[in-house]
Symmetry: C2
DNA sequence: GTCTATACCGCGATAGAC
DNA sequence: GTCTATCGCGGTATAGAC
Protein backbone atom coordinates (compact mmCIF):
# COMPACT_ATOMS: atom_id res chain seq x y z
CA UNK A 1 0.00 0.00 0.00
CA UNK A 2 2.80 2.42 -0.81
CA UNK A 3 0.77 4.41 -3.29
CA UNK A 4 -2.29 6.07 -1.91
CA UNK A 5 -3.38 8.80 -4.33
CA UNK A 6 -7.07 9.47 -4.50
CA UNK A 7 -8.61 6.33 -3.02
CA UNK A 8 -11.86 6.69 -4.90
CA UNK A 9 -10.35 4.88 -7.85
CA UNK A 10 -10.20 1.69 -5.89
CA UNK A 11 -13.72 2.02 -4.58
CA UNK A 12 -15.72 3.32 -7.52
CA UNK A 13 -15.36 0.15 -9.59
CA UNK A 14 -17.07 -2.06 -7.00
CA UNK A 15 -19.71 0.58 -6.44
CA UNK A 16 -20.50 0.62 -10.15
CA UNK A 17 -20.94 -3.15 -10.16
CA UNK A 18 -23.06 -3.07 -7.02
CA UNK A 19 -25.33 -0.39 -8.45
CA UNK A 20 -25.66 -2.25 -11.75
CA UNK A 21 -26.47 -5.49 -9.92
CA UNK A 22 -29.20 -3.84 -7.91
CA UNK A 23 -30.74 -1.97 -10.82
CA UNK A 24 -30.53 -4.82 -13.34
CA UNK A 25 -32.23 -7.12 -10.83
CA UNK A 26 -34.97 -4.62 -10.09
CA UNK A 27 -35.77 -3.23 -13.53
CA UNK A 28 -34.03 -5.50 -16.00
CA UNK A 29 -30.89 -4.96 -18.04
CA UNK A 30 -32.65 -3.47 -21.06
CA UNK A 31 -34.72 -1.09 -18.96
CA UNK A 32 -31.77 0.33 -17.01
CA UNK A 33 -29.71 3.14 -18.53
CA UNK A 34 -26.08 3.92 -17.95
CA UNK A 35 -27.28 7.30 -16.67
CA UNK A 36 -29.33 5.57 -13.95
CA UNK A 37 -26.36 3.50 -12.83
CA UNK A 38 -24.18 6.59 -12.78
CA UNK A 39 -26.75 8.50 -10.72
CA UNK A 40 -26.84 5.65 -8.19
CA UNK A 41 -23.06 5.84 -7.84
CA UNK A 42 -23.03 9.63 -7.81
CA UNK A 43 -21.04 10.29 -10.97
CA UNK A 44 -21.76 11.24 -14.56
CA UNK A 45 -22.51 8.48 -17.10
CA UNK A 46 -19.28 9.08 -18.95
CA UNK A 47 -17.29 8.24 -15.81
CA UNK A 48 -18.62 4.67 -15.87
CA UNK A 49 -16.56 3.94 -18.97
CA UNK A 50 -13.42 4.01 -16.81
CA UNK A 51 -14.69 0.77 -15.22
CA UNK A 52 -16.37 -1.07 -18.06
CA UNK A 53 -15.84 -0.94 -21.81
CA UNK A 54 -19.60 -0.99 -22.36
CA UNK A 55 -22.94 -1.97 -20.86
CA UNK A 56 -22.84 -5.54 -22.18
CA UNK A 57 -19.51 -6.24 -20.46
CA UNK A 58 -20.95 -4.96 -17.23
CA UNK A 59 -23.76 -7.53 -17.45
CA UNK A 60 -21.44 -10.35 -18.44
CA UNK A 61 -18.96 -9.59 -15.66
CA UNK A 62 -21.70 -9.67 -13.04
CA UNK A 63 -22.98 -13.03 -14.24
CA UNK A 64 -19.54 -14.49 -14.67
CA UNK A 65 -18.45 -13.42 -11.17
CA UNK A 66 -21.60 -14.87 -9.66
CA UNK A 67 -21.22 -18.28 -11.29
CA UNK A 68 -17.50 -18.41 -10.57
CA UNK A 69 -18.21 -17.82 -6.90
CA UNK A 70 -20.90 -20.50 -6.99
CA UNK A 71 -18.54 -23.08 -8.46
CA UNK A 72 -15.68 -22.14 -6.13
CA UNK A 73 -17.88 -22.23 -3.05
CA UNK A 74 -19.29 -25.62 -3.94
CA UNK A 75 -15.83 -27.00 -4.67
CA UNK A 76 -14.70 -25.84 -1.23
CA UNK A 77 -17.22 -28.06 0.54
CA UNK A 78 -15.93 -31.26 2.15
CA UNK A 79 -16.60 -34.26 -0.09
CA UNK A 80 -18.49 -37.33 1.02
CA UNK A 81 -18.97 -40.80 -0.42
CA UNK A 82 -22.48 -41.26 0.92
CA UNK A 83 -24.93 -40.14 -1.78
CA UNK A 84 -27.60 -39.23 0.76
CA UNK A 85 -25.20 -37.04 2.74
CA UNK A 86 -23.96 -35.47 -0.49
CA UNK A 87 -27.51 -34.70 -1.61
CA UNK A 88 -28.34 -33.12 1.73
CA UNK A 89 -25.17 -31.05 1.56
CA UNK A 90 -26.03 -29.91 -1.97
CA UNK A 91 -29.59 -29.02 -0.98
CA UNK A 92 -28.58 -26.93 2.01
CA UNK A 93 -25.68 -25.30 0.18
CA UNK A 94 -27.86 -24.38 -2.79
CA UNK A 95 -30.55 -22.76 -0.66
CA UNK A 96 -28.08 -20.88 1.52
CA UNK A 97 -25.93 -19.65 -1.35
CA UNK A 98 -28.81 -18.55 -3.54
CA UNK A 99 -30.99 -16.87 -0.94
CA UNK A 100 -27.98 -14.81 0.16
CA UNK A 101 -27.49 -13.46 -3.38
CA UNK A 102 -30.98 -12.93 -4.74
CA UNK A 103 -30.08 -10.07 -7.09
CA UNK A 104 -27.25 -11.98 -8.75
CA UNK A 105 -29.36 -15.14 -9.01
CA UNK A 106 -32.21 -13.23 -10.57
CA UNK A 107 -29.93 -11.65 -13.14
CA UNK A 108 -28.16 -14.91 -13.92
CA UNK A 109 -31.49 -16.52 -14.80
CA UNK A 110 -33.41 -13.63 -16.36
CA UNK A 111 -30.83 -11.80 -18.41
CA UNK A 112 -29.39 -14.73 -20.34
CA UNK A 113 -31.17 -13.57 -23.46
CA UNK A 114 -29.47 -10.19 -23.27
CA UNK A 115 -26.02 -11.74 -23.52
CA UNK A 116 -24.20 -11.73 -26.82
CA UNK A 117 -23.83 -15.29 -28.17
CA UNK A 118 -20.18 -15.73 -27.12
CA UNK A 119 -20.91 -14.50 -23.60
CA UNK A 120 -24.03 -16.64 -23.40
CA UNK A 121 -22.06 -19.77 -24.25
CA UNK A 122 -19.54 -19.12 -21.47
CA UNK A 123 -22.22 -18.55 -18.85
CA UNK A 124 -24.22 -21.59 -19.92
CA UNK A 125 -21.12 -23.76 -19.67
CA UNK A 126 -20.64 -22.68 -16.07
CA UNK A 127 -24.25 -23.37 -15.22
CA UNK A 128 -24.04 -26.84 -16.75
CA UNK A 129 -20.91 -27.48 -14.73
CA UNK A 130 -22.82 -26.75 -11.53
CA UNK A 131 -25.76 -28.93 -12.56
CA UNK A 132 -23.35 -31.77 -13.35
CA UNK A 133 -22.38 -31.91 -9.66
CA UNK A 134 -25.97 -32.65 -8.69
CA UNK A 135 -26.45 -35.11 -11.52
CA UNK A 136 -23.33 -36.99 -10.43
CA UNK A 137 -24.70 -37.31 -6.91
CA UNK A 138 -28.00 -38.64 -8.22
CA UNK A 139 -26.29 -41.15 -10.47
CA UNK A 140 -24.11 -42.41 -7.64
CA UNK A 141 -27.20 -42.89 -5.49
CA UNK A 142 -28.96 -44.62 -8.35
CA UNK A 143 -26.06 -47.00 -8.87
CA UNK A 144 -25.91 -47.72 -5.14
CA UNK A 145 -29.61 -48.48 -5.13
CA UNK A 146 -30.46 -45.88 -2.49
CA UNK A 147 -32.24 -43.40 -4.82
CA UNK A 148 -35.36 -44.19 -6.84
CA UNK A 149 -35.08 -41.73 -9.73
CA UNK A 150 -36.29 -42.89 -13.14
CA UNK A 151 -34.13 -40.29 -14.94
CA UNK A 152 -31.14 -38.57 -13.33
CA UNK A 153 -31.10 -35.73 -15.87
CA UNK A 154 -34.74 -34.82 -15.31
CA UNK A 155 -34.38 -35.21 -11.56
CA UNK A 156 -31.48 -32.75 -11.71
CA UNK A 157 -33.57 -30.18 -13.56
CA UNK A 158 -36.52 -30.78 -11.25
CA UNK A 159 -34.53 -30.39 -8.04
CA UNK A 160 -32.59 -27.33 -9.20
CA UNK A 161 -35.83 -25.62 -10.24
CA UNK A 162 -37.47 -26.49 -6.96
CA UNK A 163 -34.55 -25.25 -4.85
CA UNK A 164 -33.93 -22.08 -6.81
CA UNK A 165 -37.64 -21.35 -6.52
CA UNK A 166 -37.06 -20.54 -2.85
CA UNK A 167 -35.74 -17.18 -4.01
CA UNK A 168 -39.14 -16.17 -5.41
CA UNK A 169 -40.78 -16.09 -2.00
CA UNK A 170 -38.16 -16.27 0.78
CA UNK A 171 -37.52 -13.04 2.65
CA UNK A 172 -35.27 -12.68 5.69
CA UNK A 173 -37.31 -12.17 8.81
CA UNK A 174 -40.36 -13.90 7.36
CA UNK A 175 -42.52 -16.66 8.81
CA UNK A 176 -39.79 -19.28 8.64
CA UNK A 177 -36.09 -19.16 9.48
CA UNK A 178 -33.68 -20.18 6.76
CA UNK A 179 -32.68 -23.23 8.79
CA UNK A 180 -36.31 -24.31 8.92
CA UNK A 181 -36.70 -23.72 5.18
CA UNK A 182 -33.65 -25.87 4.56
CA UNK A 183 -35.13 -28.64 6.71
CA UNK A 184 -38.46 -28.58 4.90
CA UNK A 185 -36.89 -28.57 1.45
CA UNK A 186 -34.40 -31.27 2.37
CA UNK A 187 -37.33 -33.38 3.51
CA UNK A 188 -39.09 -32.88 0.15
CA UNK A 189 -35.91 -33.53 -1.82
CA UNK A 190 -35.21 -36.71 0.10
CA UNK A 191 -38.71 -38.00 -0.46
CA UNK A 192 -38.65 -36.97 -4.13
CA UNK A 193 -35.63 -39.16 -4.83
CA UNK A 194 -37.21 -42.02 -2.91
CA UNK A 195 -35.02 -42.14 0.19
CA UNK B 1 -71.41 -12.20 -41.19
CA UNK B 2 -73.48 -9.73 -43.19
CA UNK B 3 -70.75 -7.11 -43.27
CA UNK B 4 -67.59 -8.08 -44.99
CA UNK B 5 -65.58 -4.97 -45.85
CA UNK B 6 -61.83 -5.36 -45.72
CA UNK B 7 -61.30 -8.45 -43.57
CA UNK B 8 -57.81 -7.41 -42.47
CA UNK B 9 -59.31 -5.51 -39.57
CA UNK B 10 -60.40 -8.72 -37.98
CA UNK B 11 -57.09 -10.44 -38.51
CA UNK B 12 -54.48 -7.77 -37.80
CA UNK B 13 -55.34 -7.52 -34.09
CA UNK B 14 -54.50 -11.17 -33.37
CA UNK B 15 -51.41 -10.95 -35.53
CA UNK B 16 -50.18 -7.97 -33.50
CA UNK B 17 -50.63 -9.91 -30.28
CA UNK B 18 -48.95 -13.01 -31.72
CA UNK B 19 -45.96 -10.98 -32.90
CA UNK B 20 -45.67 -9.20 -29.56
CA UNK B 21 -45.85 -12.51 -27.69
CA UNK B 22 -43.08 -14.02 -29.77
CA UNK B 23 -40.81 -10.98 -29.60
CA UNK B 24 -41.35 -10.22 -25.91
CA UNK B 25 -40.56 -13.85 -25.08
CA UNK B 26 -37.43 -13.84 -27.19
CA UNK B 27 -35.90 -10.44 -26.44
CA UNK B 28 -37.82 -9.10 -23.46
CA UNK B 29 -40.46 -6.39 -23.24
CA UNK B 30 -38.04 -3.54 -22.67
CA UNK B 31 -35.77 -4.58 -25.52
CA UNK B 32 -38.53 -4.85 -28.13
CA UNK B 33 -39.70 -1.72 -29.95
CA UNK B 34 -43.11 -1.01 -31.40
CA UNK B 35 -41.34 -0.69 -34.74
CA UNK B 36 -40.05 -4.28 -34.46
CA UNK B 37 -43.53 -5.59 -33.71
CA UNK B 38 -44.94 -3.63 -36.64
CA UNK B 39 -42.26 -4.99 -38.97
CA UNK B 40 -43.13 -8.53 -37.90
CA UNK B 41 -46.78 -7.91 -38.74
CA UNK B 42 -45.92 -6.07 -41.94
CA UNK B 43 -47.33 -2.64 -41.11
CA UNK B 44 -45.97 0.70 -39.91
CA UNK B 45 -45.62 1.32 -36.17
CA UNK B 46 -48.39 3.88 -36.13
CA UNK B 47 -50.87 1.24 -37.34
CA UNK B 48 -50.39 -0.74 -34.12
CA UNK B 49 -52.17 1.95 -32.17
CA UNK B 50 -55.46 0.86 -33.77
CA UNK B 51 -55.14 -2.34 -31.73
CA UNK B 52 -53.61 -1.24 -28.47
CA UNK B 53 -53.64 2.11 -26.67
CA UNK B 54 -49.95 1.70 -25.84
CA UNK B 55 -47.13 -0.80 -25.36
CA UNK B 56 -47.88 -1.40 -21.67
CA UNK B 57 -51.46 -2.45 -22.44
CA UNK B 58 -50.16 -4.89 -25.02
CA UNK B 59 -48.02 -6.58 -22.39
CA UNK B 60 -50.77 -6.61 -19.81
CA UNK B 61 -53.34 -8.01 -22.24
CA UNK B 62 -51.04 -10.88 -23.19
CA UNK B 63 -50.42 -11.81 -19.57
CA UNK B 64 -54.03 -11.39 -18.57
CA UNK B 65 -55.27 -13.56 -21.44
CA UNK B 66 -52.75 -16.25 -20.60
CA UNK B 67 -53.69 -16.45 -16.94
CA UNK B 68 -57.40 -16.29 -17.70
CA UNK B 69 -57.04 -19.25 -20.03
CA UNK B 70 -55.05 -21.10 -17.38
CA UNK B 71 -57.74 -20.59 -14.74
CA UNK B 72 -60.56 -21.44 -17.13
CA UNK B 73 -58.87 -24.57 -18.39
CA UNK B 74 -58.16 -25.80 -14.89
CA UNK B 75 -61.74 -25.08 -13.81
CA UNK B 76 -63.01 -27.13 -16.74
CA UNK B 77 -61.30 -30.29 -15.47
CA UNK B 78 -63.51 -32.90 -13.80
CA UNK B 79 -63.28 -32.64 -10.02
CA UNK B 80 -62.30 -35.51 -7.75
CA UNK B 81 -62.46 -36.08 -4.01
CA UNK B 82 -59.36 -38.25 -3.87
CA UNK B 83 -56.37 -35.99 -3.08
CA UNK B 84 -53.92 -38.30 -4.83
CA UNK B 85 -56.00 -38.36 -8.03
CA UNK B 86 -56.42 -34.58 -7.80
CA UNK B 87 -52.66 -34.08 -7.42
CA UNK B 88 -51.93 -36.31 -10.38
CA UNK B 89 -54.47 -34.41 -12.45
CA UNK B 90 -52.92 -31.09 -11.43
CA UNK B 91 -49.41 -32.31 -12.23
CA UNK B 92 -50.29 -33.58 -15.70
CA UNK B 93 -52.46 -30.56 -16.48
CA UNK B 94 -49.77 -28.11 -15.41
CA UNK B 95 -47.08 -29.73 -17.54
CA UNK B 96 -49.29 -30.08 -20.59
CA UNK B 97 -50.72 -26.56 -20.40
CA UNK B 98 -47.40 -24.84 -19.79
CA UNK B 99 -45.23 -26.70 -22.29
CA UNK B 100 -47.82 -25.92 -24.98
CA UNK B 101 -47.52 -22.18 -24.32
CA UNK B 102 -43.87 -21.56 -23.59
CA UNK B 103 -43.78 -17.97 -24.87
CA UNK B 104 -46.75 -16.88 -22.77
CA UNK B 105 -45.41 -18.69 -19.71
CA UNK B 106 -42.02 -17.08 -20.10
CA UNK B 107 -43.54 -13.63 -20.37
CA UNK B 108 -45.90 -14.17 -17.45
CA UNK B 109 -42.93 -14.98 -15.20
CA UNK B 110 -40.24 -12.67 -16.56
CA UNK B 111 -42.06 -9.47 -17.35
CA UNK B 112 -43.88 -8.97 -14.06
CA UNK B 113 -41.51 -6.16 -13.14
CA UNK B 114 -42.41 -4.28 -16.31
CA UNK B 115 -46.06 -4.05 -15.34
CA UNK B 116 -47.41 -0.85 -13.87
CA UNK B 117 -48.41 -1.38 -10.22
CA UNK B 118 -52.15 -1.67 -10.88
CA UNK B 119 -51.61 -4.19 -13.66
CA UNK B 120 -49.10 -6.10 -11.55
CA UNK B 121 -51.63 -6.48 -8.75
CA UNK B 122 -54.24 -7.94 -11.09
CA UNK B 123 -51.84 -10.46 -12.60
CA UNK B 124 -50.48 -11.49 -9.23
CA UNK B 125 -54.01 -12.08 -7.93
CA UNK B 126 -54.66 -14.48 -10.80
CA UNK B 127 -51.45 -16.35 -10.18
CA UNK B 128 -52.25 -16.71 -6.50
CA UNK B 129 -55.67 -18.02 -7.45
CA UNK B 130 -54.06 -20.79 -9.49
CA UNK B 131 -51.59 -21.66 -6.72
CA UNK B 132 -54.47 -21.82 -4.26
CA UNK B 133 -55.90 -24.77 -6.20
CA UNK B 134 -52.74 -26.78 -5.62
CA UNK B 135 -52.48 -25.72 -1.99
CA UNK B 136 -56.07 -26.84 -1.39
CA UNK B 137 -55.28 -30.27 -2.79
CA UNK B 138 -52.23 -30.57 -0.54
CA UNK B 139 -54.17 -29.50 2.51
CA UNK B 140 -56.94 -31.99 1.80
CA UNK B 141 -54.36 -34.75 1.47
CA UNK B 142 -52.67 -33.60 4.67
CA UNK B 143 -55.97 -33.67 6.56
CA UNK B 144 -56.77 -37.12 5.19
CA UNK B 145 -53.37 -38.35 6.30
CA UNK B 146 -52.27 -39.48 2.82
CA UNK B 147 -49.71 -36.71 2.23
CA UNK B 148 -46.61 -36.13 4.35
CA UNK B 149 -45.93 -32.43 3.76
CA UNK B 150 -44.59 -30.40 6.68
CA UNK B 151 -45.82 -27.12 5.17
CA UNK B 152 -48.51 -26.94 2.49
CA UNK B 153 -47.57 -23.42 1.42
CA UNK B 154 -43.92 -24.28 0.83
CA UNK B 155 -44.85 -27.54 -0.86
CA UNK B 156 -47.07 -25.54 -3.22
CA UNK B 157 -44.20 -23.21 -4.13
CA UNK B 158 -41.80 -26.13 -4.46
CA UNK B 159 -44.04 -28.18 -6.74
CA UNK B 160 -45.05 -25.25 -8.96
CA UNK B 161 -41.41 -24.28 -9.42
CA UNK B 162 -40.46 -27.86 -10.18
CA UNK B 163 -43.25 -28.34 -12.71
CA UNK B 164 -42.87 -24.99 -14.44
CA UNK B 165 -39.17 -25.74 -14.71
CA UNK B 166 -40.00 -28.29 -17.40
CA UNK B 167 -40.35 -25.35 -19.78
CA UNK B 168 -36.68 -24.47 -19.44
CA UNK B 169 -35.51 -27.67 -21.10
CA UNK B 170 -38.43 -29.51 -22.75
CA UNK B 171 -38.53 -29.33 -26.55
CA UNK B 172 -41.01 -31.18 -28.74
CA UNK B 173 -39.34 -34.04 -30.54
CA UNK B 174 -36.60 -34.37 -27.93
CA UNK B 175 -35.35 -37.44 -26.09
CA UNK B 176 -38.57 -37.97 -24.15
CA UNK B 177 -42.21 -37.75 -25.17
CA UNK B 178 -44.42 -35.41 -23.21
CA UNK B 179 -46.36 -38.38 -21.83
CA UNK B 180 -43.12 -39.87 -20.51
CA UNK B 181 -42.12 -36.52 -19.00
CA UNK B 182 -45.48 -36.35 -17.27
CA UNK B 183 -44.99 -39.86 -15.88
CA UNK B 184 -41.53 -39.08 -14.55
CA UNK B 185 -42.58 -35.81 -12.94
CA UNK B 186 -45.74 -37.33 -11.47
CA UNK B 187 -43.55 -39.98 -9.92
CA UNK B 188 -41.29 -37.34 -8.35
CA UNK B 189 -44.26 -35.26 -7.18
CA UNK B 190 -45.93 -38.28 -5.61
CA UNK B 191 -42.78 -39.24 -3.76
CA UNK B 192 -42.10 -35.64 -2.72
CA UNK B 193 -45.44 -35.41 -0.90
CA UNK B 194 -44.83 -38.79 0.69
CA UNK B 195 -47.38 -40.95 -1.11
C1' DG C 1 -10.72 10.25 -12.51
C1' DT C 2 -14.51 13.04 -13.25
C1' DC C 3 -16.47 16.65 -15.64
C1' DT C 4 -19.25 19.14 -19.64
C1' DA C 5 -20.63 18.91 -24.15
C1' DT C 6 -22.12 16.53 -27.84
C1' DA C 7 -22.64 13.07 -31.83
C1' DC C 8 -25.79 10.08 -33.48
C1' DC C 9 -29.51 7.15 -33.12
C1' DG C 10 -33.88 4.97 -32.06
C1' DC C 11 -37.67 5.26 -28.84
C1' DG C 12 -43.13 5.80 -27.98
C1' DA C 13 -46.66 8.20 -29.56
C1' DT C 14 -49.55 11.53 -32.43
C1' DA C 15 -51.40 14.33 -36.57
C1' DG C 16 -53.46 14.27 -40.60
C1' DA C 17 -53.56 12.65 -45.64
C1' DC C 18 -55.61 9.07 -48.38
C1' DG D 1 -57.07 1.02 -41.59
C1' DT D 2 -52.68 2.15 -43.06
C1' DC D 3 -49.62 5.49 -44.56
C1' DT D 4 -45.87 9.43 -44.14
C1' DA D 5 -44.03 12.80 -41.36
C1' DT D 6 -42.77 14.45 -37.19
C1' DC D 7 -42.35 15.76 -32.10
C1' DG D 8 -39.74 15.46 -27.98
C1' DC D 9 -37.13 12.59 -25.37
C1' DG D 10 -33.59 9.69 -23.73
C1' DG D 11 -30.44 5.98 -25.15
C1' DT D 12 -24.98 4.53 -25.57
C1' DA D 13 -20.79 6.14 -26.19
C1' DT D 14 -16.86 9.47 -27.13
C1' DA D 15 -13.87 13.91 -27.09
C1' DG D 16 -11.38 16.77 -24.67
C1' DA D 17 -10.94 20.17 -20.63
C1' DC D 18 -9.40 20.21 -15.91
Amino acid sequence: MARKKNSSGEITGPRVRAAALRLFARYGYAAVSMRQIAAEVGVQASALYRYTPDKQSLLFDLMQAHLAELLDSYAALPGTDDPVAALEQFTRFHIRFHTARSDAVFIAYMELRNLEPANFARIEAMRRQYEAHLQAILERGQAAGVFAVPDAKLATYALIAMLTGVNTWYREGGRLSLARVEDIYWNMVRQAVGV
